[in-house]
Amino acid sequence: MIKLRNYEIAVIIKSELNDEQRSSLKDVIQDWVVSSGGEVVLLDEIGKRKLAYPIEKQREGYYVFWYVKMSTAGPAEVERQLSIHEDILRYMIIRSESPVSVSSSQENDSDTDVSESDSPEDSDSSDQPDIEKIVDELMEKEEKEEMEGSK
């Protein structure tokens, strides 16, 4: 049995591509994911955005994010494909704990964490209920250290 993990793929596409070219490139990228044994859970686009620093002399880029499930061999394969495509300015593949973390929500972090996650992740997230305890312990430890430090 192949274990699927949650990954997040972030890609900056050259902004000079027109809509048609861009959507075909997005299809190509999704094909890479599918052909390496993965599935796309969610597609999230920020769209055209000014870059914080120029990349390949470009000042803006088109941001696309995929939340995917892949086997552990998947990211390397997709990454290899992403790295050689010339219309992709920047890419990043990271492990993501939750299957979907919606980018726009910053205030309701506490609402989204456990409730909607589906069952296959339960084996992974067995430490979920303990986090609060750990955080509390850490806080106490930190405070103790601070008190000692300030003396």
């Binding site: 972030a10 900056i12 920020i46 955005r49 000014k50 870059l51 914080a52 620093y53 990349i55 880029g61 941001y63 994010f65 300015l89 920047r90 990043m92 990271i94 704990e97 939750s98 973390s101 980018s103 910053q106 972090d109 506490s110 964490d113 986090i131 609060e132 955080v135 850490l138 806080m139 930190e142 405070e143 601070e146």
Partner: protein
């Protein structure tokens, strides 16, 4: 004298407890720039724990998120130009 005063102020701890612990934040998304921008100084550097009061666990999460955001050109490596 003035130098020491200014130095002490800038190194003074603002929050005693970690703000992420208070708000029960379990993961920090690198795309959540509203949060990350508050964790960097005017020069674009990550604020040290001694100033923000962030705990070790959350500071590590902040640092990773900021570095990811920098890689994706959402934050600058230097100067505070993130728009």
């Amino acid at each position: 004298m003035a130098y020491y005063k200014r130095r002490n102020q800038s190194f003074r701890k603002k929050n005693v407890v970690c703000q992420f612990c208070v708000n029960k934040v379990y993961n920090i998304d690198y795309k959540n720039l509203e949060v990350l921008v508050r964790q960097i100084g005017p020069d674009g550097k990550i604020n040290p724990r001694r100033r923000t009061g962030t705990c070790a666990r959350h500071q590590r999460m902040v640092a990773v998120a900021i570095k990811r955001a920098r890689h994706m050109a959402m934050l600058a490596f230097d100067r505070g130009t993130w728009l």
